[in-house]
């Protein structure tokens, strides 16, 4: 439906426009946040892995969460999605207080994540992995499961939806294969497609590009943009600065557990605090390859 896509892509444009007026400083408030986190802290023994004072994620936008290795990005994801317990902190999702909520319930209300170490279920087929993602399945209830006629028609609809997504992610020829026989990059794709089966409002991707070849990367970028066009809010962790630069509407930078910078991609990548965090202080370089980055100057 063309009229639909026009309104939704204008949604994305609106999100972008809204962010254009937002100041580029850590913890800044956004016009329409889907997620607001306050004082989120996680300590491992003496190490404070996450210590985020305040952060907001704009609805309908693509937000990148970047930072050097060990900055606490994955831990922050784990805390927000309920897979790890925060020592302190509160956060709301869609205005609803959700800190301390069980991770499966968070997923049900629309906050779905993927994992840095891919969790494709390798002893199940690709299509079964996809089916598992679908919500509200009658056949998942014990007594209904015994009577296939109660859930057969729903299963058919789930299969159609799965096939559509698998085609989009170029996995449609692997439908009947065990997920364990897929390559590492294909598993990343499968995990992302499976997360979409759960119809997230906010999808949180932990390094979606890791191990994906450059050609596939381009199409993945397309997929992530199309998620935004369909109204899904995207928050992703990534080390590939070109990708971050390409697709994100907003970038949040973490270092040593805290948010040290925020802003549109261009501004953030020129930010001295960010460059220092990545490359060590007093270093003169840019972070993207397009800006002749990461190589020593004067070579």
């Amino acid at each position: 439906m063309p009229s639909d896509s026009v309104t939704s892509s204008s949604l994305a444009a609106k999100a972008k426009e809204a962010l254009a007026t937002v100041d580029a400083r850590p913890g800044v408030s956004k016009p329409d946040p889907i997620l607001i986190a306050d004082h989120v802290t996680r300590r491992f023994g003496g190490l404070t892995a996450v210590n985020v004072e305040h952060v907001e994620i704009q609805r309908g936008a693509i937000t990148a969460l970047i930072g050097p290795n060990g900055a606490g990005k994955t831990t922050f994801f784990n805390l927000i999605t309920g897979f790890d317990d925060a020592d302190e902190g509160k956060w709301t999702f869609n205005g609803r207080q959700v800190s301390g909520m069980a991770p499966y319930r968070l997923a049900r209300i629309g906050m779905v994540r993927t994992f840095q170490l891919t969790k494709a279920l390798s002893r199940m087929t690709v299509i079964d992995n996809m089916r598992l993602g679908a919500k509200h399945q009658t056949g998942e209830r014990f007594f209904a499961a015994i009577f296939p006629f109660l859930w057969n028609s729903q299963e058919k609809k789930i299969d159609q939806k799965s096939m559509g997504l698998l085609e989009r992610f170029n996995l449609h020829e692997k439908v009947a294969d065990f997920a364990g026989s897929l390559s590492g990059g294909q598993r990343k794709l499968l995990e992302m497609a499976r997360a979409l089966m759960a119809e997230p409002e906010l999808i949180m991707l932990d390094e979606p590009m890791a191990g994906v070849n450059p050609a596939l990367k381009q199409s993945l970028l397309g997929h992530i943009k199309s998620m935004r066009e369909e109204g899904t809010t995207v928050l992703f962790v990534e080390h590939d600065m070109d990708m971050v630069h390409d697709i994100s509407d907003w970038v949040i930078v973490m270092a040593q557990g805290s948010v040290i910078a925020e802003g549109p991609p261009d501004a953030v990548m020129k930010d001295q605090a960010v460059i220092d965090a990545y490359l060590g202080a007093h270093h003169d370089a840019q972070l993207t390859e397009s800006g002749q980055a990461l190589t020593e100057d004067g070579s």
Partner: protein, 329 residues
């Protein structure tokens, strides 16, 4: 050497009452371990619950056997909740430790002198426990015996109904594992966080699998009490659980017919070697063994066979080797 005796005895035991009891215990383990990945090392506690429910309700309280079966199901469910609530949120090994300890705790409690009035102490409960069931026997009163299989009229009726119960539970498992419910538990077996991330209440599914497997195990105990008209505390030792696991692995875990094939094979090997060795010693073929050694030797042979199976065919008789290979990522 009486070969026909060895064969008929072996066949009778291979599809006899013991095979049915172990088969039911193994079907329960298949739901828990085979499909869901729950390590229940105390399946014998659920079997004991079934047996004692029947013994206590019928003998101690003089109530109906049909009520006793219902009580057996309820008690098995309560045990599963008791064991599952504290452990199923933790790592898999906690359930294993708690269940094996619990099963010994159950045995030592039921045989203790403190509850002798109700549970019968070390002597157990003996009497007309299964009478309500045996009264329904439709076989002719002058029934002697089948051509090859040497069951009494009473045992044959237990065997017939027992295999029907096995068939019904097998059908139930078959229906479940090919449904979306089965998809979830198989996902949990592999990586429960992946399943959680898709919005499924993993704890509830593990609990359901633990209860279902326990209730099926309890039916093994119910059959036992009815068939033997007696409940003996010391038959519920941890070995029982390990034999049930042997059966499951023989037939192939996570295969619907695995427990049936496994149970029959287990008893063919166990009874076959026992009868053969007994006859061979009698005939003077073997002179380095005494008839009293036979019981132990057959378990040595069974153990060696299981080791050979794990080396050469780790997926069991029915399993699919490709699935195992996929585990190594």
């Amino acid at each position: 050497m009486d070969w026909s005796f060895v064969l008929t005895q072996t066949l009778t035991q291979a599809i006899g009452i013991q095979a049915i009891i172990y088969c039911l215990a193994a079907i329960g383990l298949n739901v828990q371990f085979g499909y869901t990945g729950l390590l229940n090392f105390g399946q014998v506690a659920f079997v004991a619950a079934g047996s004692y429910a029947v013994g206590v309700i019928v003998l101690t309280f003089d109530l109906s056997l049909w009520l006793a079966i219902l009580v057996g199901i309820v008690v098995a469910t309560i045990i599963a909740l008791l064991l599952g609530i504290p452990t199923l949120r933790l790592r898999a090994d906690y359930l294993a430790i708690v269940t094996i300890a619990f099963s010994e705790l159950v045995r030592l409690t039921v045989r203790s002198i403190a509850f002798k009035d109700v549970l019968g102490g070390a002597q157990g409960l003996n009497g007309k426990i299964g009478q309500d069931f045996h009264d329904t026997n439709p076989l002719p009163a002058d029934f002697q015996s089948l051509p090859v299989l040497s069951w009494t009229r009473q045992d044959l009726w237990v065997v017939i109904v027992g295999w029907i119960v096995v068939a019904l539970f097998t059908l139930l498992v078959w229906l479940l594992v090919r449904s979306p419910w089965g998809r979830i538990v198989k996902g949990i077996r592999e990586d429960e966080n992946a399943v959680v991330s898709l919005g499924k209440n993993v704890f509830a599914y593990k609990m359901q699998a633990l209860i279902l497997g326990g209730v099926i195990g309890a039916f093994g105990g119910i059959v036992w009490a009815i068939a033997k008209q007696s409940v003996q505390p010391d038959t519920f030792r941890p070995e029982f659980t390990f034999f049930a696991y042997t059966i499951l692995l023989l037939g192939g875990a996570a295969r619907v017919f695995g427990p049936i094939v496994g149970a029959i094979l287990f008893w063919i090997v166990l009874a076959g070697t026992g009868e053969f060795l007994g006859q061979a010693i009698q005939a003077g073929w073997i002179d380095f063994l005494q008839p009293t050694d036979v019981g132990n030797i057959r378990f040595v042979l069974m153990g060696s066979g299981l080791i050979a199976l794990m080396v050469f065919r780790p997926q069991g008789i029915f399993g699919d080797r490709r699935e195992l290979a996929l585990d190594a990522k």
